[in-house]
Subunit: 142 residues, 2 copies
DNA sequence: CTACGAGTTCGAGCGCGCTCTAAGTCAAGC
DNA sequence: GCTTGACTTAGAGCGCGCTCGAACTCGTAG
């Protein structure tokens, strides 16, 4: 499998695949006679797992630690396990945090639902009060 | 309240507070005789809500849209509500995604738990096979 | 033979959200 | 009257994770 097909099948771009190889997230791929990368389908499993780590917010730096342990082979199981367990705790904490925020959002939305009045108009007036004289000179976020 | 105290009480840095004002996330603050920002405690409520939006992954660009509607005042309730409802859906989707990933993590961790063997050692060997000849020239992520 | 498309390397550039520095002003305490 | 420390502005810089462009090499189809 060449890089184009792997890109299609993995959902990454060829650019990203090469980038991941450069930084060590993907193993250095064997090349064919014309130095083109030739992948085994098994790489897809690894890429998919990396995707889960990424989706759950693991920084690349830590994925690299995991990938390095993996390369070291069979003796590193306990360390890899510990790394994943730590990460799992972080993800659980994140989910709890998001759920807490969802409650706040629900409340806020309910406030708007009250004939689109009361609470929020009050907020808006407060806000506008603070805006009074000022205006002008803005800046855009970059 | 001056910026230093607001920083302490809000958890933001003074730098960040000024940055938020520059881009329009915070209203332009009144200044005292020596051009120092003088805040009303009510700003804390707004900052806290912005914190929830941020925690739930809303990009600044969208917070700005919300802040702008707020400044426009009482007529914009329905639009603000719609914006928050859209966001809430995204957060819910995110939570679902994280929960799905947690299941994968659980499975993977369970795999390591099996006397630290089997599944993962197999993975590791496959990986090492693909690493064979290659090594050398690395690159660090920036 | 040539044109095409898919691959290669190297390194620069980007979007996001801050974060920090420099150079200056001001008010209060010794 | 001088120092100290918190404030001011404008603008540069950073860490992350890609993303893209330039210039090149191949292999195959017409």
């Amino acid at each position: 499998m060449k890089i184009g097909e792997l890109a299609r099948r993995s959902g990454l771009t060829a650019h990203t695949i090469r980038y991941y190889e450069r930084i060590g997230l993907l193993p250095y791929a064997d090349r064919d006679r014309s130095s083109q990368r030739d992948y085994d389908v098994s790489i897809l499993v690894w890429i998919e797992f990396l995707g889960k780590l990424k989706t759950t917010g693991m920084p690349i730096r830590e994925m690299l630690r995991y990938a390095a342990l993996r390369e070291l082979g069979s003796g590193t199981g306990p360390q890899r396990r510990a790394l994943l367990e730590r990460h799992r705790e972080q993800v659980r904490a994140r989910v709890a945090e998001l759920n807490a925020c969802l409650l706040v959002l629900d409340t806020k939305i309910d406030g708007y639902a009250d004939s689109d009045k009361r609470i929020d108009d009050y907020d808006a007036e407060l806000f506008q009060h603070r805006q009074q004289s000022s205006r002008a000179r803005q800046a855009r976020p970059r």
